[in-house]
Symmetry: C2
Subunit: 356 residues, 2 copies
C-alpha cells in the first residue's frame, strides 16, 4: 500500500512534543514546527501551519497531551478546571471543521475519566497520549479503508478535479480525497489530476501539487475560476473533494469554492464526490445552513505573502468555507462505505453510529 513520503504530524516522545510539517512554507521550503506548549499547538492550528479537518483533530488531541504536561504541578497533579481550560483553548482555534470538536470530545471523556479515578499528572498524560495515538491510528486506517471504497468509483484513466488539499497533508497519513486518488493509482487506474489552486491560501497550488508530485501522480494546476471551463472543454471526468463538516442531510461544508465547483459539475453532468471519515459527520445539525462558517483576516485576500495585491483600504469578505447542498453531491465516501446523502441520513442510527 502506498504510504506518503512525508510525515504531516509526528509525536516526538523524547521531546514530549508534536512536530508538524509547517504547511505555511510549502512548496518552496520544507520546514518543521515543533510544538512544545499548548499555545504553540493552538497557534499552529489557527495559522494553518497544520490544516485539513482530520489533521486538525489529530493535532488537537496531541495538544491536549501537551497542555496536560504543562499544567501538571510539581506535586504531579492537575485540576479538573485546568483540564477543561486546555480543551476550551483548543476548541476556540477554528470553528468549522467538526473533527476538531470530535477529537476533543474523545480526549475530554478519557481525561475526565482519568481524573475521576484519581490518576496523577503523569498517569493522566500517559492515558491521554495513548488516546491521541489511537486517534492518529484510527484516522490513518479510516482513510485507507475510505480510499479502497472510493477507488472502486474511479474509472481507469479518469481525469479528476480536486479543490483545496484533502491529502496526507490534511490527515494523519493517507488523505481523504487524495486517499481515494492514491488507492486508485495503487490499483493501476492511471488517473490524472487537475488541482484548483484554492485562493486565498493556495492549498491546491502549494500543497496538493507538492504532494502529488512526491507521489508521481500526474497533476495539472489551474486557477479556481478555470474549473468550469475545463469541464466545458471535456477535460474532467469527475470531482472529489474532502469535507470539514457534513450535516445530517448530507449538506457539506468544505473549503471556499467547493460549492462553485459542485454547481459546475452539476451543469456538466459530472459525478461530484465527497471523501471524508465518519468523524466529519455532525448528526446534531439537520442541515448545512447551521454549520458555522469561519471568516478570516481580509489581508489574506489583499496580500499574497508580503506582496500587496489590492488597495489597503478596500473592504474584503473572506469566508474560509462554503456549504454544498446535498442535491449536488453524488456520493459521500467514508471508511464505512459509500452513501448517497439520502442513505447517509437513513444510516444515522445504524451503520454510521459514531463513537464519541
Amino acid at each position: 500500500m502506498l504510504k506518503s513520503t512525508f510525515q504531516t504530524l509526528t509525536w516526538l516522545e523524547e521531546n514530549r512534543s508534536l512536530r508538524l510539517l509547517d504547511q505555511r512554507y510549502l512548496p518552496t521550503e520544507e520546514l518543521f514546527f515543533e510544538c512544545r506548549s499548548l499555545r504553540q499547538v493552538a497557534e499552529a492550528i489557527k495559522t494553518l501551519a497544520v490544516r485539513g479537518a482530520p489533521a486538525i483533530g489529530v493535532a488537537a488531541a496531541y495538544g491536549v497531551v501537551i497542555g496536560v504536561q504543562e499544567a501538571t504541578t510539581v506535586e504531579n497533579s492537575i485540576t479538573t478546571q485546568k483540564f477543561s481550560a486546555i480543551i476550551d483553548e483548543l476548541a476556540a482555534t477554528r470553528p468549522t471543521a467538526v473533527n476538531l470538536f470530535w477529537a476533543l470530545a474523545r480526549m475530554k471523556k478519557v481525561g475526565e475519566g482519568g481524573l475521576k479515578k484519581g490518576l496523577d499528572g503523569t498517569q493522566l498524560r500517559d492515558l491521554l497520549l495513548t488516546e491521541a495515538h489511537r486517534i492518529y491510528a484510527e484516522d490513518d486506517q479510516a482513510h485507507r479503508r475510505l480510499g479502497e471504497y472510493g477507488a472502486k468509483l474511479i474509472p481507469t484513466g479518469a481525469r479528476i478535479l480536486t479543490h483545496c488539499n484533502a491529502g496526507a497533508l490534511a490527515c494523519a497519513e493517507y488523505g481523504t480525497a487524495l486517499g481515494v486518488i492514491r488507492a486508485a493509482q495503487t490499483a493501476g487506474k492511471n488517473v490524472k489530476i487537475y488541482a484548483d489552486e484554492t485562493r486565498p491560501l493556495l492549498q491546491g497550488s502549494r500543497l496538493t501539487t507538492w504532494e502529488l508530485l512526491k507521489e508521481k501522480i500526474p497533476v495539472t494546476l489551474i486557477c479556481d475560476n478555470m474549473a468550469a471551463h475545463c469541464m466545458a472543454k471535456g477535460m474532467i471526468d469527475l470531482v472529489i473533494v474532502g469535507a470539514d463538516r457534513i450535516a445530517a442531510n448530507g449538506d457539506t461544508a468544505n473549503k471556499i469554492g467547493t460549492y462553485s465547483v459542485a454547481l459546475a459539475a452539476k451543469a456538466h453532468n459530472l459525478p461530484f464526490y465527497i471523501a471524508a471519515p465518519t468523524s466529519t459527520i455532525d448528526f446534531s445539525l439537520a442541515e448545512g445552513s447551521a454549520i458555522p462558517i469561519e471568516e478570516r483576516d481580509p489581508d489574506e485576500v489583499r496580500f499574497f505573502g508580503k506582496k500587496q495585491t489590492a488597495p489597503s483600504e478596500v473592504a474584503v469578505y473572506n469566508p474560509a468555507f462554503d456549504v454544498t447542498p446535498a442535491a449536488l453531491i453524488s456520493a459521500i465516501i467514508t471508511e464505512k462505505g459509500i452513501f448517497t446523502p439520502a442513505e447517509l441520513s437513513a444510516a444515522r442510527e445504524s451503520t454510521l453510529k459514531v463513537e464519541s
Copy 2:
C-alpha cells in the same frame, strides 16, 4: 456626467507617443509607460500594461500611427508592404479580443486608402492619427451611451457582482461593465459592488477596486471562488461583466472565470448581463466555440509577482478567457441598445450593422 479621475491612454502629440497608465503596477504604484516605438506598443499589449478589449483596440490604433512614424523614410515615404507589416505585428499581440482586429481593420482601410492616393509619410501619419483619435472618441461615446442604457436595468440599491476589470482602465475613458455602474451611480442608484479578484493576474483586486475606490463607489473584494457562496447567502442581486468577443449567436468570450460566475448566477436565478460596444461582436463567427482562446505563460499561475506559489515543475493550464453560452446571458448591453442573445442575431443585418 461622471468622468474617470485618471487617464488610461493619452496621445502626447509633442512626443508623438502614446502614454499608458501602466496597469502592471497598480494598485500600489501609479506609473506611466510611454510608447515611442511600434515594438513598445506591441509589448505593452502583450504584457498587459494596457488591457481590456476596447483599450487594446484604441492602443493598437495609435500603435499604427507610431509604426508609420518609425517606418517613414528620410524621403518621407512608406511602402504598402511596410504598412502591412505594422498591422500584422499589432494583430499578433493577443488573439481573443476582437476589438483589436476591428480597430486594425479600420486603420488598415484608412491607411491603404491614403497610400493609394499617393500620400507622403507625413500626410499618411496625420490621416491615421485622425482615425485613431476618432476610434478613441467613438469608444468613449459608445461606452457612455451603453452606460445610460444599462443603468436602466439596475434597481436602486442593487448589489452587483463583476469579474475582471471592464472599467475606464479597460477602455478609452468610461468603461463597459463599470460604465453601467458609473451611470447607475450618477443616476443616484446607490449601488454596491462585489469585485472578483480574477486570478491569475488579479485585474479585479488590482484594477477594479482601485478604480471604484477612486470613484467612491462602495466595493468589496472577494476571491473568484467566493462568488457562488455570496449568491447563496443572498448578497448579490445581479452580475455585469464585459466581453472580449461575442459570436453571432450571443456566446461571449470574456476573462477566464466568467463562465463559472454565469453558471452560478443561473443556479441562483440572478440576471447576468454582458456590457460591450458593438465593436466586440464578431458576426463572422456563428458560435462561441470558434473564438480563439489565448493560453498564457504557466508562471502566471505558478508565481505571484516574484513570489513562487507552486512547485516549479508542476504542469499548468492557463487559458486567459472562457466562453459563456448565450443561454446563460440575460442581455447584452451595447451603445445601440439592449439585446437578448436571440435579438442580437436577429439585429445583425439592421440595427447592429457594424462599420468596418
